[in-house]
């Protein structure tokens, strides 16, 4: 069976080839393809993709696997070909991508009444690009997948293209992210100029420990480029606009996994390429990223609480949580990296189920404005449950995957004496969950007043489905509950934390990575230490975050909320200033981006050269 042999030999290329191939078929047969057939094909392809990811994860749990396209294996440590590096972290991330795409397809079965086959084509292209992005072991290919993923995302974002707001959000998104791509390309060009290589392992080996201005500048370019995608302050402005206008199934993927891929890419490049040159500048990078992550997280949380447009609220909450992920990465420690991996999975599952909740509201009532919806969904409390559990997940309360993630990151922070991290997590958890609890209380329980609570602007949104819908289709609620249950079930999986730690240590072992890719040699890590750190402190912090969230939400819904009181005038002025900062003007966004990137480079340079950190 030559075909079977060919498939088994090129199995690792399938997560890329299968979605792209299916997308090509669907695009070619666009005119003749009935909607349901396209649905079936797309869902089937995604399911197969998921199974392949599961199989790969199972196959590489002991040692990472490197797949060379066209059989161009490296000769005496020089990589000419391009490769996929399949290790547990990249597999798990690709799995998360497949799961969320699957949920988005199932959700959209009844969602768009007038969806064309092109939606499926774009979604499958998005899936293929994100899978390739997870596995790529080559810096330039990482850039190409980044661009492919972005192009699909821009088109999906402007999918409802009769609406002027949709185009505007998509334009802001596309312009800022394209500038990010140019920055990444410049960084890659600098690294190529220094080393003459594009394979990450080979660049890393060629750089060794030498650290100079060129390498640091190149890393800053790459880092800023990817952090535009990851919506890190001050590069985050596009995200809320894009989420406010994008169709709900697309929002699920943007928030659930696309943004997190920016964090992943920098982490991968850090440990595969520049860990050596930065070995002496650990604390400079760590302090800068910790501060930036904290600002992002706090700003996102506050902005999230100040919104009345539910999708925009969820978008700012995503910004807050990527800030937390950045804090986790900034500790530059395998233990914290394991926490980041767990947190990405937990947040992705919870956040996309929250977006499904918002999509159901839009489907049923034709609006996602919190104030307009007050008390209107009392009969659908079952669907409202998604919001309640989601808010618990954002606060990081067990049993939820975010709890384990927070625990690992906090534990690493304690060991590294960065104790102030213990304040940031509960703060962001409390404020972002309070916003969701408030939506739950107002929309599903009919609490609170109809008066405007915040300066957040009312953005009219066209319904994505035609006609009034009296009931909520099961295919809409089903994926939301499945995602939530998956998050809970994973938490209860024994040894998950230990498995995550092992995977993170594999990813963070620069030397072993280079040997695996360039010399086809496997250097096993020494066994990860058993993590028996007490869960109690994290438990206390997350439960108090949720309690504070409930309290805030209740306060915001009660008549005692001082919305007009003189005493809080400065707070309101601050809120208004923050809101006017998010101007929706792409020129402002690019100006912030430029100054942010320059400030980033200058501060890092000062920390390294003036203070010798």
């Amino acid at each position: 069976m030559p075909l079977a042999n060919a498939i088994s030999a090129h199995f690792p290329a399938l997560p890329l080839a299968l979605p792209l191939g299916t997308a090509a078929i669907l695009a070619a047969l666009n005119k003749f393809m009935p909607r349901r057939l396209a649905d079936a094909l797309a869902i089937l392809a995604t399911l197969i993709n998921f199974s392949i990811d599961v199989f790969l994860l199972h196959a590489v749990r002991s040692a990472p696997f490197v797949y060379w396209f066209g059989g161009w294996t490296p000769r005496s440590g020089v990589a000419i070909g391009i490769c996929f590096v399949i290790d547990p972290i990249s597999c798990a991330l690709a799995m998360l991508v497949s799961v969320l795409v699957l949920a988005a397809f199932v959700f959209s079965l009844r969602y768009f009444d007038s969806v064309g086959t092109l939606f499926h084509v774009l979604m499958l292209g998005f899936l293929g690009a994100m899978s390739g992005f997870c596995f790529s072991g080559d810096l330039f290919n990482l850039f190409v997948f980044f661009e492919l993923m972005s192009a699909a995302a821009f088109a999906l974002c402007g999918y409802k293209n009769e609406e002027p707001t949709a185009q505007q959000g998509a334009l802001n998104f596309a312009i800022t992210n394209t500038i990010g791509a140019f920055l990444i390309l410049c960084g890659i060009a600098m690294l190529y100029a220094r080393t003459g290589a594009l394979n990450m392992a080979q660049i890393g080996r060629a750089l060794g420990q030498q650290s100079d201005a060129l390498v640091i500048t190149a890393f800053v370019f790459i880092l800023v480029g990817f952090y535009i995608k990851a919506a890190i302050f001050p590069f985050h402005f596009w995200l809320a606009d894009a989420h406010a206008v994008a169709p709900t199934p697309v929002c699920m993927l943007f928030s659930g996994v696309m943004v997190e891929l920016g964090i992943y890419a920098v982490a991968r490049i850090y440990w595969a390429v520049v860990a050596g040159p930065f070995a002496g500048h650990h604390s400079a990078l760590m302090s800068l990223l910790l501060v930036v992550g904290t600002i992002t997280s706090v700003l996102g949380a506050i902005m999230s609480f100040g919104q009345r447009h539910v999708k925009r609220m969820l978008a700012f909450s995503t910004i807050s949580h990527t800030g937390l992920l950045l804090i986790g990465f900034a500790l530059l420690d395998p233990q914290a990296l394991a926490g980041v991996a767990l947190y990405v999975a937990g947040h992705g599952l919870v956040k996309s189920s929250l977006f499904i909740g918002a999509g159901i509201l839009l489907h049923r009532y034709g609006t996602v404005d919190e104030l307009e919806l007050r008390g209107r969904a009392r009969r659908h409390r079952f669907a409202g449950f998604v919001f309640f559990i989601g808010a618990m997940g954002l606060a990081g309360v067990p049993p939820n995957l975010t709890f384990l993630g927070e625990h690992s990151i906090s534990h690493a922070a304690t060991l590294l004496h960065q104790d102030w991290i213990h304040v940031v997590f509960p703060f962001s958890g409390a404020v972002t969950s309070a916003a969701i609890f408030r939506v739950f209380g107002r929309v599903y329980l009919g609490l609170g007043s109809k008066a405007a609570i915040t300066p957040g602007k009312h953005i009219p949104e066209d319904r994505e489905t035609a006609g009034p819908h009296r009931n909520i289709p099961a295919v809409m609620i089903f994926p939301a509950f499945l995602l939530v249950i998956a998050a809970l079930a994973l938490t209860l999986t024994p040894q998950l934390q230990h498995a995550a730690l092992t995977a993170a240590r594999t990813m963070a072992n620069t030397y072993a990575y280079q040997a695996r890719v360039l010399d086809a040699k496997y250097i096993p890590n020494d066994a990860a230490p058993e993590t028996n750190s007490p869960l109690r402190p994290t438990l206390i912090s997350s439960v108090s975050a949720m309690t504070a969230g409930l309290f805030f939400a209740g306060w915001a819904l009660s008549p005692a909320w001082p919305s007009r009181h003189r005493a809080i005038a400065p707070a309101r002025a601050c809120m208004r200033a923050l809101h006017s900062l998010h101007s929706g003007h792409v020129g402002d966004y690019v100006a912030f981006l430029t100054f942010g990137a320059a400030a980033f480079g200058i501060i890092l340079g000062l920390l390294i050269h003036r203070f010798g950190m």
């Binding site: 821009f154 505007q168 594009l198 690019v590 430029t594």
Partner: protein, 114 residues
């Protein structure tokens, strides 16, 4: 090899960004983005340039003759293809904005504020 091409690349990057920030027309803005992009072409090509180097075609050339680096040229071509897609997409979005609102000026589009 001089510093000059790198200065040109940096200048193109900055002037393009300035155009994007101050633009009052989405079509103009997308063209400014294309200027930023052209800086990456200059950067990539100047990295691969060797003074006195031949084109990287090795038929009938003595072994060891200096040649410019073909890898960066391939990268640049890929970059051209990828960005052509993105620019086309951006322009079509701009056309849609114009259809929907009758304006191409970002200053007049403030629906997403706050």
């Amino acid at each position: 090899m001089t510093l000059f091409p790198y200065l040109v690349a940096a200048w193109l990057f900055c002037i393009g960004l300035y155009g994007v920030v101050t633009s009052r027309n989405f079509i103009h803005l997308v063209m400014c983005l294309a200027v930023v992009q052209s800086s990456t072409y200059v950067l990539l090509l100047s990295i691969g340039y060797r003074t006195g180097g031949l084109p990287p075609v090795f038929a009938g050339v003595p072994v060891g003759a200096p040649a410019v680096d073909p890898v960066v040229q391939a990268l640049m071509l890929t970059d051209v293809v990828v960005e052509a897609t993105v620019v086309a997409l951006l322009l079509s979005l701009a056309v849609q904005v114009h259809k929907g609102t009758g304006t191409l000026n970002p200053d007049h589009l403030r629906e997403l504020k706050g």
